[in-house]
Symmetry: C2
């Protein structure tokens, strides 16, 4: 079915200053298309096939790796096979590979401490280092200890707030501890610490370790950094509480290799009426190295690719261009996002909206958006199709996803899918991020929400997203 | 308080043939003592201190290891410090240590397979071996495949029955799959397989691996054997289902070292009236090497040691002797249990009953027993103190614990504590068996149930355990 479309753009643009309600025919083209996409996804979604290929057939896709290159090749080929225009926009990405990762409590019968290096960590000597462990719960506590951490290993031991996690606010719980992982090494090094450990950022553990990137700050010494399992953090805590001196030997031998040329994969379904206006959808194609990147972010890649495939399959060509971007290297420093922004800075005003999926594969609970509530309210009738998915709940946030954050900061209205987050951090950045963690039925609902909102944004006849004064 | 005790034994023994009900005064000495022990344990249990020392301060205690020797030394010293008679009965135990444990899917981009050697496994060559993977679900299926497994790696991929686990019957679920781990390698080797893998026997996983002993059978080649994580088993299953040939490289370099002299730790509280009659309580002191053996079996050691400590502390000396046995090397072949049986075979008829704790640290749900239901019914009034703990549920089984199994087979009435098993196999034989998995309040209830039943068995004035014809 071709969507009916009659009113010229000028009249629509004039109408918006009077009322946000467009003519009934245009409204029905938005709603009908969204409903068809939802029904199609719930029945015939191909999202599983994509995430299954990425996770099982390619596997871990860390920045700069041969697997990451294969993911670029395979998604490009797959998108082309769907009849889309596809290009690879080069991005220079870092390459960092693990070596030995071992720790023992030399003060306590050489008990093994299970740990994994943080992404980007420098190495210890081959023989490792040995030092006393000091436990803290915040960056401020390190500053307060000051010289007392000199020559020591600093352990940041702050669990995720499980009450927030249980309330469905796992990303808030994560954001309260993620700064320790990013900044903890440099902060400890500033006061003379020789290594940094952090309790794995997770909402579940079976002696599990969760990696993630750190950021060394200019001017501070670079010290090795690793995440220990919550159980190991608890053990060290108990030993210290009992008044023991705890010393540890640490061997970490990761290596930073030369940068590699990778690419953002960019595919477009050209708009039938406003092709110069772009609704950018997507997520990152790289993953961490420990798991196979099924939920982070094979699912986001699959869901956003699938939105395009479904539109092609149903013959639904929206007013605006839908541009899919599969970003290179989100995990090790957002190089893909930065390259995209730099390459397209001169067309920012043609970016109508963004929709990022990088929060997992479970059923949708709604979307985060950079728009204020009154703008969302004005879109009310367009968003109604999302209700049957439980995905019509919009909450305002300054940023809605990592890869679209430069665009959000520049004022492009942003949306980020928010699936049920209860178990997301059980697996996130760990070896347990594997395909079996995805429920095919939930993934369908997830993909349906992405396809529907993509269509709504690309099809809505007027721009009700931006404030009138913009 | 000293328990009142007046009636001579002969009168009691005469009474039992008429009725199982002893005189009211004797009954109250059984029940009052059990109630005092329960109250004491719920308030002042020292079980936590023991399991915390074993798990945190000593750590993993695999058979023949320095840590296992330290556990013998520390428990001996601790029991002596409580005023008990303690001796070490020598046991020669095996010593087996892990080496490299690595696997990759050479057919699928060298994806890493997470695995751990089964206890006692032979090694591959240093360079490893490479072969196709054949998936089966039973020993019989291997026999049916026969020559088709020659030169292959056989993967036993049978999950635990989670319905049984949810019903509180986790040990039944475990027993349905444990035979694959014990016998799977030799069965596959008989038909020419070059290595054996098994899906980890577990009720939860975050890419977790669970070890356990295998038994090579005489006459079959010894092949390397390892447990893969459920996620990895699922991955291989999916790849095979999609029609792929799956080949794998496997490097396992464990080593069998010379046997080591270890010991069963034997401590006694001599009976005040029938010192020659023995109520044997205990569990194994060794653990697997991956975790710190908190639930398997630090908790069982702690609970049974605590029963003796509480009796000493409360001045409760029972009629019969309570003999605590902390068995060496349960995990790698029951050497401690066999040595105990061989050493004490001439006094089997003086073993009144056994009570083993080797099923975890959670709140009790009751006991397994080798006694038929009618014998338990006859003990009804003695067992009443267990009701407030929810521990008065007795179910008949042929065997009730590994270390007491030779005694059970020989006809000594056996009891085995049955804590809530819902999460036991989440941690069992894995790195996640750590102290944090124990809830101190549940451990108190667990210890209270052990202390109470120990007292009841040792104090009851007549032998209602054995059938009259025995």
């Amino acid at each position: 079915m071709k969507i009916a479309h009659t009113l010229p753009l000028m009249i629509l643009l004039a109408a918006v200053s009077v009322t946000a309600s467009p003519d009934p025919e245009s409204r029905s083209s938005v709603i009908e298309g969204a409903e068809r996409l939802i029904e199609y996804e719930l029945e015939h979604s191909g999202a599983w096939d994509v995430v299954a290929h990425l996770a099982d057939m390619i596997g871990p896709r860390p920045s700069g790796s041969p697997n990451a290159a294969e993911a670029v090749r395979w998604t490009t080929e797959t998108l082309e096979s769907w009849g889309l225009e596809v290009r690879n926009e080069p991005v220079i990405v870092p390459r960092w590979v693990r070596g030995r990762e071992e720790g023992w409590l030399t003060s306590h019968r050489d008990q093994q401490i299970i740990l994994t290096a943080l992404g980007g960590s420098v190495a210890t000597d081959e023989e490792g280092l040995e030092a006393s462990v000091v436990e803290v719960r915040s960056l401020e506590e390190v500053d307060e200890l000051g010289e007392a951490v000199r020559g020591k290993i600093v352990l940041y031991n702050l669990p995720m707030d499980m009450e927030l996690v249980e309330q469905g606010r796992a990303f808030e719980a994560y954001s309260k501890v993620a700064g320790l992982r990013g900044s903890g090494a440099s902060r400890a090094a500033r006061h003379g610490a020789v290594a940094m450990l952090i309790r794995s950022l997770t909402s579940a553990s079976l002696r599990s370790v969760h990696t993630g990137a750190l950021r060394y700050t200019e001017g501070d010494p670079k010290i090795p950094a690793a995440a220990v399992s919550p159980e190991d953090a608890d053990l060290i805590h108990r030993l210290l509480q009992r008044g023991n001196d705890v010393t540890m030997k640490l061997v970490l031998t990761p290596r930073k290799l030369p940068d590699v040329e990778s690419a953002n994969v960019v595919a477009e379904l050209r708009g039938r009426e406003l092709p110069e206006e772009i609704v950018l959808i997507g997520g990152h194609l790289d993953s961490w190295d420990l798991g196979t990147g099924a939920i982070d972010n094979g699912a986001g890649v699959a869901g956003t690719m699938e939105a395009l495939r479904a539109m092609v399959e149903l013959g639904l060509r929206p007013r605006r261009t839908v541009r899919l971007v599969l970003f290179a290297n989100e995990e090790m420093g957002l190089r893909g996002a930065r390259a995209y922004f730099a390459n397209h800075e001169d067309s920012l005003d043609r970016h109508f909206a963004t929709l990022e999926s990088d929060a997992g594969a479970t059923e949708p609970t709604g979307f985060a958006t950079t728009l204020p509530a009154e703008r969302i309210a004005a879109l009310g009738e367009y968003l109604q199709p999302l209700e049957r998915l439980g995905a019509a709940n919009f909450t305002t946030a300054r940023l809605v996803g990592a890869d679209t954050s430069p665009l959000s900061v520049a004022g492009v209205p942003g949306f980020g899918l928010r699936p049920n987050s209860r178990h997301y951090f059980d697996y996130h950045h760990s070896a347990a991020d594997t395909l079996d963690k995805i429920d095919p039925e939930e993934l369908k609902q997830n993909a349906a929400a992405i396809a529907a909102l993509t269509w709504i944004l690309a099809e809505m006849p007027v721009d009700t997203l931006r404030a009138p004064e913009e």
